[in-house]
Symmetry: C2
Subunit: 478 residues, 2 copies
């Protein structure tokens, strides 16, 4: 976001007017665009409302914008030509399309984080800069900066990365596979997207965990899928529920995140895993196993994935670099029968022409390097440390007001607020006090749950953050 | 593709049988999967058909595969358990989905190139390794290998890249814009994809050039759009045709590639540009301007884009790193009103969570570096040189059999074969003789056109490649 220069000789209102004039003349805000209200713009730019009033008055005087009571301030229609000319009705185009926008809560969180970089961030589900192996990755890049060929890569993914993943999957996840069964995607996210677009048809029923990360993704609805819930208890989902949903709705696929589930942190029980695979093979039902968190297991011993005990081939397995190393690299992978990999690679070629070779090369080097194992060990220690900081702070600040299970891996703590509380009010109050979190309803649960990501914030901010959160909660409860 | 080891003591057929057993047991080929015919597999592995017959016999003896006359060879259903277990019917899933597969010709080209890396490649629409600035990019990476933060990036794109593009667009494309009007995508491809998914609704009519790159993309059909044609003559599309399509079909958007159009190489006439913009503003009709080739203009003077003379804001402008530097980096950009950029960034966050920061950093450094201008100058000279090699070879080998206009920029030569010829036969014959090209029907034209990309093949292969092509054409015509 552009900000006026407080040290300049030019008055703030004039800087703001000039900036808008420039943006409007460049087409960033076409004729007819609704501009922010005076109050909102003042907040965004961190200036007084009177400054914005002066800036808008200046633009009105130039005929660039128009204000009408009731309908706010808009860019003028007929400034830019002698004859009436028509800018496309972008508003209508933007409202169209089959792809649904993100949830309002997620857009609000993104906006708040972009506007105020000082917020203590318990909302972004990723590692903080302190936990990411940026130095190690930089060192690897420095050692071997050259890329021989920069042409369109194989849409299935960079071959050396797929070969490295064959060893990685065997060593760390007990999965035996071949390079031609692996598809590299832009994180696990794109694997999920490709599955919804290419293997399922609008109207198909699918089962997802409740609560679940999948609820945060309107992409399931955009693909026209009907979603059915599998309640997650302390041992994960129940195989009988899968069978019942199949009977009732002929579900076509089951999406699971069995290890350190997002958001609950729950690990799917061993007995239930075996039963689930039996149900799946009995019904010929595919299971998508989304497994981004396993290698964060604090004791270094994550349960083996469903895929490793899947003798029938029911499981599409998805892994990612994001939660164990660096989400900004955008490298994920899917292990699937060759026919599925081929179909998805073909479709993604049309969507984005494949992934950049550069991050794939970096990921391959890091996974195969001597830095990887020590990074994991440090990551686990640090996550455990941050988790405990968070728990201590919650117990100190909010005794009897919150309840949670202690996760043994992953980045999140799932927390029930004991008295009834309104998600929306709590979030706004927290933002006002300088802290942000992910409301439980994002994951499909009822109001009154909170997901705290403890991996993102700096250790020294966790205690302060929870103090601010506690103050916000008390203010809302009052 | 796995290949047997000819130096091993183990017989070839045994190696093949072992490899299949492993792949089948790992789930790459689930029960029920159809295996390649003996003839096809022999071709793929470069062995005698009798070797494959022995390998399949071995696998049949182990009960791993079954052959039935008429229905070929399949992986056995009931090998893997005592009770009948069911692998999901992957075949049915793969046939489902709303996203259409690539055109058969494009899949055939990809397969042929993967199987035989020795083919002389006039089909892949990109720069060869000799024209890509891999060394310069390597040097820039080596100078500055460290990335500070590896978290999820802004879904609109890496801020320093957007800032660099503001200067780049002003300097090279005469486009004045702001960082907040730019969306970074995985090449121009993803910009096109996002437009079809987010700004258009199934059933909408859109206009595309005839012939056009867009015809090679079933993504338009996958999005449920109705496509109408704007014939491209020597001066590009005709503004009257746009008006007529609007009257008749209420087209919602026009997709154009005005400079060195793919596949024809045509430059849209200056007068028509002005008229087109008048039509667009009169009708409130958006134009998508896809502009990947401009900076390859052999004389260094590409025509300015429509966007630079668009005073109303009708144009969504798309650029790309691919054709002027490195397609494998996967960096493209769109310039659009802020509301459009926001909508597309929001949707793409759900699809792939944004682009990797690494290639974005590399692209920003390269575009802002002292390497960029000399790279462009060398690229233009080399493209001109390769274009002339191709034309000379065509004139020598196929006088009177081909006709074409000489392109002044871009990577392709669009060529009409004068006697009637079948695309499919010509392609197969060419592949057999060691050369590959893109049949014109991929771009929506009638049979009997060929797109030769002269940027990809090595200079020394161009003459040989055309000799092989000429032999193939003569063989088909006989
Ligand atoms: C369960 C789960 N799956 C998938 C993702 C997507 O992550 P990425 O695309 O970075 O791998 C996330 C990220 O929050 C997640 O929590
Ligand atoms: C006209 C045109 N637009 C877009 C693209 C997509 O290229 P990229 O996504 O690599 O920028 C191509 C590639 O062939 C093209 O020719």
């Amino acid at each position: 976001m552009w900000q006026p220069d407080r040290l300049s000789n030019q008055p703030l209102y004039q800087q703001i007017a000039d900036d808008f004039e420039r943006r409007i003349s460049y087409g960033e805000f076409p004729p007819g665009t609704q501009l922010p209200s005076e109050r909102k713009l003042a907040e965004q730019l961190g200036v007084n409302r009177s400054t914005v009033i002066l800036a808008y008055a200046e633009l009105r005087a130039l005929g660039i914008i128009e204000s009408r009571t009731g309908s706010g301030t808009r860019v003028s229609q007929y400034k830019w030509g002698v004859t009436p000319k028509h800018t496309p009705n972008w508003h209508r185009y933007v409202e169209g399309g089959t792809f649904l926008p993100n949830l309002p809560f997620l857009r609000r969180i993104r906006e708040a984080l972009q506007q105020n970089s000082g917020l203590i961030d318990f909302a972004s589900g990723e590692l903080g800069a302190d936990l990411s192996p940026a130095k190690e990755i930089g060192a690897l890049i420095a050692e071997n900066p050259y890329i021989e060929y920069l042409g369109y890569d194989n849409p299935q993914g960079f071959v050396p990365l797929r070969e490295t993943l064959v060893s990685y999957l065997s060593k760390y996840r007990d999965i035996q596979t071949t390079g031609s069964s692996i598809l590299i995607t832009s994180g696990s996210q794109q694997s999920l997207y490709l599955i919804t677009q290419c293997l399922l048809t609008p109207g198909d029923a699918v089962a997802i965990e409740d609560p679940s990360y999948c609820y945060s993704l309107p992409m399931f609805q955009s693909a026209g899928l009907r979603l059915f819930r599998l309640p997650v208890d302390r041992k994960g989902v129940h195989p009988d529920d899968v069978r019942a949903l199949y009977k009732k709705h002929r579900i076509k696929m089951v999406f699971l995140n069995p290890n350190y589930q997002n958001p609950t942190g729950v690990v799917l029980d061993e007995k239930r895993r075996a039963e689930l695979l039996d149900v799946a093979s009995e019904l010929g039902l595919p299971i998508v196993e989304d497994d981004p968190f396993s290698l964060t297991a604090y004791d270094g011993n994550p349960p083996p994935p469903l895929k490793s005990i899947d003798s029938v081939g029911s499981v599409l397995y998805i892994g990612s670099f994001s939660k164990m190393a660096a989400s900004g690299l955008r490298v994920g992978w899917m292990v699937a029968p060759h026919s599925v990999v081929e179909r998805l690679a073909d479709a993604r070629q049309q969507m984005d022409f494949g992934l950049s070779v550069v991050p794939q090369k970096v990921a391959a080097e890091f996974l195969g390097s001597a830095y990887f194992q020590p990074h994991l060990e440090r990551l686990r220690m640090q996550l455990l440390f941050k988790r405990d900081l968070l728990i201590e702070a919650l117990e100190k600040e909010l005794p009897n007001l919150v309840s949670f299970a202690v996760p043994q891996g992953g980045l999140h703590l799932w927390c029930k607020i004991i008295p009834e509380v309104n998600d929306h009010k709590l979030l706004e109050e927290a933002i006002r006090r300088g802290v942000i979190f992910a409301p439980g309803s994002v994951y499909g649960s009822d109001s009154g749950y909170v997901r705290f990501t403890f991996a993102r914030a700096k250790a020294e901010d966790i205690v302060t953050g929870i103090a601010k959160f506690a103050a916000a909660l008390r203010a809302v409860l009052d």
